[in-house]
């Protein structure tokens, strides 16, 4: 993702190297966050599907999966649990999104600094 162009004269200082390293780390974290956000969104969708199914069913006792076992749980309790899990996941999702925004902002700042010094000699874009 990052390369320096050919035959340039610009010197690379330790500070530059640290900035480049930091950009690399942030970029990695960005991709990790994207994955985590996708997983959390899917989980929320599943919860919603499950709770919709629940509304449609007439059974009083629902088989609720805990780990690898299914426990027979009354419908109301299941509803409550799904709500709790949805809330937890949504909060987690918010946190992830906030972190992602912070990472994107830091990356933008670093890009400004690095492009200013190295111009064409450095490529910080996703290929």
């Amino acid at each position: 993702m990052q390369q320096a162009g050919g035959g340039s004269e610009t010197e690379v200082t330790w500070e530059d190297q640290q900035n480049i390293n930091k950009f690399g780390r942030l970029n990695n974290r960005y991709h990790e966050l994207e994955d985590e956000i996708r997983i959390a969104k899917e989980a929320n969708e599943n919860f919603e599907d499950a709770s919709n199914e629940l509304i449609l069913t007439d059974e009083e006792v629902v088989r609720f999966q805990i780990g690898e076992v299914f426990a027979h749980v009354p419908k109301d309790e299941v509803e409550m649990r799904i709500e709790q899990m949805t809330e937890t996941t949504t909060k987690h999702l918010e946190k992830l999104k906030d972190e992602k925004d912070a990472v994107v902002a830091q990356m933008a700042d670093l890009k400004k600094v690095l492009y200013a010094k190295f111009k064409d000699s450095i490529n910080l874009e996703e290929d």
């Binding site: 035959g7 390293n21 780390r25």
Partner: protein
């Protein structure tokens, strides 16, 4: 004149290696670096490329370990969950339970071994395993970050050595055409 290319001590502390992974020394001046290594440009580039490959191998290994841990942790959490909630559900609703008496729990330890524990022992064992797994994961993530930094430094060094060489050739060509 530039200083020599030994491990830096600016701002943050720089380690020479971390848990068996050698650090990539930052190069202040390419000319001095080449003199220190005593190699010509191509050999230096080959050496750096090899270093890069070695880093990649270690990175693959660490990533695999990380994936394993990341799968293990939710597993342990689910077990703990099952343990805690089965108490609530054990009022006769969970009629197909193999463990009806809530005083003992059997934990699968792996390697075809299963042990019976009291519920408190089981809970604390699972909690301890969870803590250990989380701690290992943190160390692993820090290792991976360190590794990625070394990869980046090495990549930049390779580019700089290459650029320096290109620059040298141009200078030599310019001088040669001046003389003739």
């Amino acid at each position: 004149m530039a200083t020599s290319a030994s491990p830096q001590q600016p701002g943050g502390a720089v380690v020479a290696e971390r848990r068996g992974i050698p650090a990539a020394s930052f190069v202040e001046d390419v000319q001095i670096y080449l003199n220190q290594l005593g190699l010509d440009v191509n050999s230096t580039l080959a050496f750096l490329q090899e270093r890069l490959q070695q880093y990649k191998v270690v990175e693959m290994k660490l990533l695999a370990q990380q994936r394993d841990l990341q799968a293990k942790i939710p597993d342990i959490e689910k077990c703990l969950d099952a343990l805690l909630t089965d108490f609530e559900a054990s009022e006769g609703i969970y009629s197909r339970a193999r463990v009806e008496d809530i005083d003992s729990v059997c934990l699968w330890l792996g390697a075809n071994v299963m042990l019976e524990y009291s519920c408190e022992e089981a809970t604390s064992l699972l909690r301890k395993n969870l803590e250990n797994a989380k701690a290992s994961l943190e160390v692993l993530i820090a290792d991976l970050q360190f590794l990625r930094d070394q990869v980046t430094i090495t990549q930049v060094t390779i580019a700089r050595v290459y650029n320096w060489d290109v620059h040298q050739r141009r200078v030599r060509q310019a001088l040669a055409s001046q003389d003739s």
